[in-house]
Amino acid sequence: MSVLTGIILVFLVVMGTAVVLTRDPLPQALVLSVFGMLLSLLFLALQAPDVALSETVIGAVTVPLMIVLALAKVRDESGTP
């Protein structure tokens, strides 16, 4: 295991914990996006650029975007701003 992989793994553990500890869904979506970005960095460091690209477009962009859009809809229905 290279030093780079080790560093990214440590960051991943920190970010994963941060995702769980963030209780409000809106900030959580953004923390999740950072987590996805870090995960794709890990895949890149492990020489899997294909998987890294997929993880970037899904984990870092699309999933948080869908969560934010769904949250906007739900908050709108419940009447809270």
Partner: protein
């Protein structure tokens, strides 16, 4: 069930799971070591057999192309299901695309933001198309490029209003494009069955390695998957956007 029984059940289950997990983890190969001949064989035969340096693409669209066909239709089913779930209900109606938070003041969009949105839109379209077309030469391919292509359209929404985005993304046309992408994959597979011997067998000339038109059906399948994924994502995300911005519940009249 009493509290004690529950605790006994939980702790015995947890202990068993921990023991099995530790046993499995001990038997894992060391970090970064690859056992198993499949990857090494593919790495050696992909270039001479399929004229592609991207062995991942060769596995996804050729050696294991049938699995990718399954994934294609999982995606199609997921998109269809999502669209069915979030369709406009009978008790709902469509309103105007106006901001519903009354206490929020929105400054007018600046020209700089519009220009940036237009630049990023073109840039993302180009990047997405590049990644789709070079799927058999560099990392990436139809799926990744398709998602980038779809997300490019969101720069239009982000830098202007809902209306221009809505005009750029016609839902009925997208539905046709998505089905053409998904069905095209099946047709290419059947061509292999008719012209050669097996489903999804290559029917096109392999070409010179490392050139854009090489690796037989790989780039064709990549473009088809890119088309389907781009249209599918655009459908799902624009439907999410429509739900959020336009669709009102039965008691909302604005």
């Amino acid at each position: 069930m009493t509290r004690t029984t529950r605790q006994v059940l939980f702790w015995s289950g947890a202990a068993l799971l921990t023991a099995l997990a530790i046993r499995a983890l001990i038997q894992l190969p060391p970090f970064g070591h690859y056992r198993g001949p499949y990857g090494d064989i593919i790495n050696h035969v992909a270039l001479p057999e399929r004229h592609t340096p991207e062995s991942v693409a060769a596995v996804n669209f050729d050696y294991r192309g049938f699995d990718t066909l399954g994934e294609e239709y999982i995606f199609l089913a997921a998109v269809t299901g999502t669209l069915l779930l979030i369709r406009t209900q009978r008790s709902e109606h469509e309103g105007k695309a106006v901001d519903k938070a009354r206490d929020r003041h929105i400054p007018p969009t600046s020209d700089a933001l519009r220009a940036l949105g237009a630049i990023l839109f073109g840039y993302s379209l180009l990047t997405g198309a590049y990644i789709v077309c070079h799927g058999h030469l560099t990392p990436g391919g139809g799926f990744q490029g398709g998602v980038i292509l779809a997300s490019a359209f969101f720069y239009i929404y982000l830098s202007s209003e809902y209306e221009p985005f809505h005009h750029l993304v016609p839902i009925p046309a997208l539905e046709v494009i998505e089905v053409v992408g998904a069905g095209g994959f099946v047709v290419v597979g059947i061509l292999g069955l008719l012209v050669r011997a097996a489903y999804l067998q290559n029917v096109l000339p392999l070409g010179r390695p490392d050139s854009l038109l090489s690796a037989g059906t790989l780039p064709v399948l990549n473009v088809l998957v890119g088309t389907e994924v781009c249209a599918g994502w655009l459908l799902v995300l624009s439907e999410y956007l429509r739900q959020t911005l336009l669709v009102r519940g039965p008691h909302e009249h604005r």
